[in-house]
Symmetry: C2
Subunit: 330 residues, 2 copies
DNA sequence: TTTAGCACTCATATATTGACAATGCTAACA
DNA sequence: TGTTAGCATTGTCAATATATGAGTGCTAAA
């Protein structure tokens, strides 16, 4: 589709614009490509016809269009070699053997967020697919209990239960024992069903105050299956010049506060996915890079959010590095 | 210090400015105070001499100075009667009996943040003063354990431990039993000491792989004593016109990302404390209203952050309302 | 003590200008 | 046929000018 020089030109413009955030002029390029500015202009106007470049106004230099970024990402981009310093920082986390997968990922992403000036998001499917491996109930006072659920993947969830009526300790114990027997091995998001159709009828038979107890436990357990979302470095990407007006920043901040938006990101196939501008359904100036992982049977998604004008090569390299280290036994 | 009319005038100016965010002109007031604009101007210039009012430029209307807000808060302000709708919203939370104190507070503050367009902060002293009431250790696989600590106030903390060397299940069990015996009743922030000076020597005697085990547990437990901070409605206050430029917003966002800043807020005496502008050491345009609570022996602080130009009467009323309901048995 | 009236000041909005940085196009060149 | 020099053209940016309106301070009179 593009010849060699055109490809080079696009690469130069995209990368220069990523670096400087200013429209790239023909003059600035002729040294690199060893030809006159006029020649560059001819090629530029071809790339503009193709829809890969844009001008901010009639006599301005060129800027990559959304399609231009897309082309760059799909055909030109190659992951940048990580520099020693960055690699070292990440490696110290890998080497910290006391971290489990979850912590490894969030710590790594914190650092990546700093290194790239992007906002990092960790979407843990922390519980959904996990299976219950133990249920524990600890009384706090007459009316309050704490229910703790531990899953086979090592996640812990807990919830306070309040039981208004007076219920005998024995009844509670019996209920917990029954629950324990019947729901171990059940996936967290299935627990609701199992409680309703299998546990409830049995409790009704054997336990006196079954209604009150059942309800308390039911609401507690159905609360567990939600996803966890963490975000670091919200401010980072907002420092970029494309977010240089108050309204834009406010808009982005509001979107960050809405966790629904983050859920929407999670949907696509494996590997690294890059959504540019309007593809994000978030903001036309924004790119979202996300990657699913599946290590030791634990799934999740990590994502980086920033301006379209982000260092794609570095971002991809960093994410791949994280994934690589995940495989190696984390 | 101020006569009746001057007090009224200050009240009108502060409240009008809070509502409109525009300098208040003498003309706008003469209807309310039944005198001509010239009279108002005379009084205004007296209040300006006193340092309670300011002009934004030589021919502008008046704006409350920091000192003006201070005077208003200290001498004029009276809590506003809550309107029925707001009261109802808060009451539904109070009535939700399945909520424990922590949840009651965070849910209430979420709503208050919405109602006031301020940012709400909940600083839970969630664990510091709590005493350990149970320690539970659950094995996940050969090298990973989960340590769960439950406190007498019903807080649950957990942490993954990784133990690289092969340690016998028996050793682990012995260690946990010892820990359980020795640290129950200890305050969370004291656990470190107790482990070091009381538990360690004993483990060393009875358990084979004591070094490895002790280290794993020690790092886990000393992690528990940190405070929890939650923030809701970051965006709310940023919608106000005083934060109408990108740099200002960025500055505030950065400060919000830094949890240290939030810690600093927590220091003063009981009741409701209002810090205005430079008193906040946060930003000159910002007011922080904070309130300590102590219910059922659980302490904490809640705070609202927003522009100096906030509805003090409403804010104070809301916080008092929350505290009132806390006393009544939540 | 209050007020009407007037001169004065400053913010805000809009238009005008010149310098500059690019471009597109044309015609000449290799 | 591809490349390049030259020039008119176009738009940005910053500085400057101009008009308008909202508000004040001050003074003199009620």
């Amino acid at each position: 589709m593009l010849n060699d020089r055109q490809t080079k030109l696009l690469k130069i413009i995209v990368e220069d614009y990523i670096k400087t955030a200013r429209p790239v002029s023909s003059k600035a390029i002729c040294d690199i490509l060893n030809c006159s500015s006029a020649t560059i202009r001819n090629e530029m106007s071809y790339l503009e016809e193709t829809g890969l470049l844009e001008k901010t106004h009639i006599s301005s230099g060129r800027v990559p269009s959304e399609k231009g970024y897309r082309y760059y990402v799909d055909h030109i981009l190659e992951p940048r070699e990580l520099n020693g310093e960055d690699m070292l920082k990440l490696q110290t986390i890998v080497n910290n053997s006391s971290l489990m997968l979850d912590d490894y990922i969030s710590k790594s992403m914190e650092i990546v967020s700093e290194m790239t000036n992007l906002t990092a998001i960790v979407l843990g499917k922390s519980s959904k697919d996990n299976c219950v491996s133990k249920v524990e109930v600890v009384p706090i006072n007459e009316h309050n209990l704490i229910a703790i659920v531990i899953t086979d993947k090592g996640h812990v969830e807990h919830k306070n239960l309040t039981i208004k009526e007076n219920v005998s300790i024995n009844d509670i114990k019996q209920t917990v024992d029954l629950i324990n027997k019947m729901i171990i091995g059940t996936q967290l998001n299935e627990v609701g069903k199992v409680l309703e159709y299998e546990v409830k009828p049995i409790i009704a038979k054997y336990v006196k105050q079954h209604e009150v107890l059942y309800n308390a436990f039911y609401t507690a357990f159905t609360d567990f299956a939600k996803e966890s979302v963490t975000m670091t470095g919200r401010k980072n990407m907002l420092m970029q010049p494309e977010f240089n007006n108050a309204d834009k920043i406010r808009d982005i901040i509001s979107k960050f506060e809405d966790k629904e938006m983050v859920d929407k990101i999670e949907e696509n196939d494996n590997g690294i996915n890059i959504y540019i501008g309007s593809e994000t359904e978030f903001d036309d100036d924004v790119t979202i890079v996300k990657m699913k992982y599946d290590a030791q049977g634990e799934e999740g998604t990590i994502a980086l959010v920033g301006p379209k004008r982000m260092e794609y090569d570095k971002v991809v390299a960093l994410l791949e590095y994280i994934k690589e280290n995940m495989k190696e036994g984390k």
